[in-house]
Amino acid sequence: MSPKESLDLITRTIIGLRKNAKDNSFYFIAWGWIIILASVVHFVILHYLLMQEKFDIISWATITNWVSFILAGIIIQFIHQKRNPDSRQQQSGSGKFLKSLWTASGSGIILLVIFISTYGINPTPFVLIIVAIATYTTGRMIRFKPLILGSIAFVLFGALALFIDNHYQLLINAAAILSGYIIPGYMLKKTKIICHV
């Protein structure tokens, strides 16, 4: 083997493995836009209903909004996974771990929102902390720094949300998702695979 052939072999091998990591970009981009849209629509609905003083339908409108968007997200994810069956990344264990991580985080967020909302507390800061942990862990596992930076953005926006009036926290949520999911997601999608050794 010549030195160039050796380097080509290394690059081809690692590209094949990292392609699996790049596949994660779909989930960050898809769920990122879904949550941003849900947050903005929720903000608009709340703003309108509060102005119109239609307080009795706020809960119903909120739940319908989020359930609709999350269901849409699940359907989109299901279709994507049918078209792109999981690769052998799972063989290494990291793929299985990331699936479990995000399943647990997503379930935790839903439960958190339900429990905290019953006390009239806006869950945005707490949700962003959970998302920060999952995003940071993912960034470390796939060795992608923008995701790690995205997790820091989630923490900062989560802290900011503590000082913002209630329904404006939804705009903080949208900004956090843009910084922590969308931007790193597109960067991951476009990243050129380089042999980082």
Binding site: M1, L7, L9, I10, I14, R88, Q91, C195, V197
Partner: protein, 100 residues
């Protein structure tokens, strides 16, 4: 500046094994066999060579009565791989001083 290429890494199968492990840190025997396309016997021999040199660790266990062999790259293996890459760069771009 030309450095000697580590003969233990500079072989197609062992280089592929090390490339996979440098990226994933650990992988089991079946995964390595699938990715490298090597026979079980040849792969086993090459893994043992890497293990004897301290570049990888091999953990053997059982899963539902089937043997499970996991290969994990060691800090020495990571360092040696980085040195190998640095040496390769010296050949491809002789004007560059290899760094490790």
């Amino acid at each position: 500046m030309y450095r000697d290429l580590d003969p233990l890494i500079h072989s197609q199968l062992r280089l592929t094994i090390m490339s996979i492990l440098i990226e994933l840190e650990r992988a089991d025997f079946t995964f390595l066999k699938e990715k490298t396309g090597a026979t079980a016997g040849n792969l086993s021999v090459q893994l043992n060579k890497l293990k004897e040199a301290g570049y990888i660790d091999i953990e053997k266990s059982f899963k539902k009565n089937y043997p499970l062999t996991k290969c994990i790259i060691t800090p020495k293996g990571i360092q040696k791989f980085k040195e190998y890459i640095a040496a390769l760069k010296g050949y491809i771009d002789p004007g560059t001083e290899p760094r490790t």
